[in-house]
């Protein structure tokens, strides 16, 4: 283990800002990369299921 | 007299350029104006200018080329000429090469001829003129060839001009780097054969490969 305390780990020998800023920005991009397809999938499934239901109703009437 | 479709198209495009000189003169004016902006905006000191002259002229040449590229295929797509090329069964490879040649004749060649004038305005060192001419002579055909691919890709897009610049500028970087460096090195009395050689290699590569991409891109505009 390179660091003796948690505070030392956060400080990163004075370079904490740069290290954590990098990791933070990366986490944001990664999170967006994961969330985007998951949300799109949910929306797609919902929309298409709705469309199917609509079409069924339409067919039943006709 | 039959020139074949490729020859006839080159002749037709040159005739068109002669009838509408604005189309190729405006980018040249732009070339001149962009170069005039640098002393005004940065520093008119001749010592400073002579250092950046080569780079400025090349950046201006690159932008002026982009301006004239947008029109390269647009009219042909819109009026049905492109359809007729494909219907003729002649090689689209040769056709793309021919179109790039025409583009160079009305953009790269006049730029090259005008460049010494800009060199004077920007106090280009006397030793650098030869390098400037050579680099433009070898480099601007590469710009036309690569640009023709972008023009073919965006010919059917409504506001294609801006998109074209976005696509093509990153691809122009190697030409810019080597050409500007050739002029700079000639200015400080160093050898610049290596850079010109690299530009020549780029030209050979572009002349062989880009017509394939242009031809494929042109076919895209027809499948609508």
């Amino acid at each position: 283990m390179e660091f003796n305390s948690f505070a030392e780990f956060i400080a990163m020998g004075g370079h904490g800002l740069y290290v954590w800023l990098s990791y933070g920005l990366t986490a944001v991009v990664i999170a967006w990369n994961v969330a985007q397809p998951v949300m799109r999938r949910r929306r797609l499934l919902k929309e298409q299921a709705q469309r199917l239901r609509r079409e069924k109703k339409h067919d039943a009437k006709a | 007299m039959s020139l074949g479709l490729v020859g006839a198209t080159i002749r037709r495009d040159l005739t068109l350029a002669a009838r509408n000189p604005g189309e190729w003169l405006n980018p040249l004016m732009f070339f001149l104006m962009v170069a005039a902006l640098f002393p005004l905006a940065v520093d008119p000191d001749p010592k400073f200018l002579s250092k950046i002259a080569g780079g400025v002229i090349w950046v201006a040449a690159l932008l002026a080329t982009l301006l004239s590229l947008d029109a390269l295929y647009k009219a042909d797509v819109e009026d049905g000429s492109l359809e007729q090329w494909l219907a003729s069964g002649e090689s689209l490879y040769a056709m793309s090469l021919g179109k790039a040649l025409v583009h160079w004749c009305i953009s790269g060649l006049p730029l090259t001829l005008m460049a010494p004038l800009l060199g004077l305005m920007l106090s280009l060192p006397a030793d650098a003129y030869q390098a400037l001419i050579f680099s433009l002579l070898v480099g601007t055909p590469v710009l036309s060839l690569l640009g023709a691919v972008g023009a073919a890709l965006t010919a059917g897009v409504r506001s294609g001009g801006l998109l074209l610049s976005l696509l093509i500028l990153p691809l122009y970087i190697p030409v810019l780097i080597f050409a500007a460096s050739a002029v700079y090195h000639a200015g400080i009395g160093m050898d610049y054969k290596g850079q010109i050689g690299f530009l020549g290699a780029l030209l050979a590569l572009a002349a062989c490969l880009t017509p394939f991409a242009s031809a494929a891109a042109l076919k895209l505009n027809l499948s609508r």
Binding site: M12, G14, H15, T26 | L171
Partner: protein
Amino acid sequence: MWQWLKRLYHRLGSPKWFYEITAKWIPWLAIISVVGCVTGLVLGLLYAPADYLQGNSFRIIYIHVPAAILAQSAFMMMAIAGAVYLIWKMKMAAWVAKVIAPIGAGFCLIALFTGAIWGKPTWGTWWVWDARLTSMLLLLFLYFGVMALQQAMDSEESGFKAAAILALVGLVNIPIIKYSVEWWNTLHQPATLKLTEKPSMHPDMLIPLLIMIVTTYVFFALLVILRTRNEILWHERKRSWVKDILEP
């Protein structure tokens, strides 16, 4: 062997097969990504020794380098998928190429951000025209170009084709751009302190880096699969097998 390849090709070309098989892969890929990421970061952030020149700021390497490597190979994969689409008209390939572009651009952005941030303690300034950063910036422009072109076309199909052609032209250009930028860089800035490229790295530093690189590829595969599955759902929405998924 040839028969097997042919069968694989046909299967890959079938959206339904891809959709069903990847459903089984997703949990595994996700687990490997998380485990690899945690291991790599714990080793890299806690156990790797500090760099003798750069101190602890070098720990940015564990995201910067994997992101940069991935951004470049993603472009290559995108161009290859595009070529497969152009040559064999395999729709799956077009969808894969389409979904790679934003992911690759995302990793490119990560590499640029982290490179700039890393530059501050190392060079004392946020941005230096370092050869690697510069060619990464140009790669980002290429990604933007491909995405913009794809969206600008009237029909989705010609968008795919145009983007594939541009990606191939870009692929040929990437080594030329890299070479010219490196040459230009050595000309203008001899002997600057480079961000990466150590003559020899201590194994304690190197192993977490290798773990992170492999993990990034796995994670990339996961992202591509997730997005491709959405493309499949959208494009095949009118087929019966998708309808069965929608209302079991």
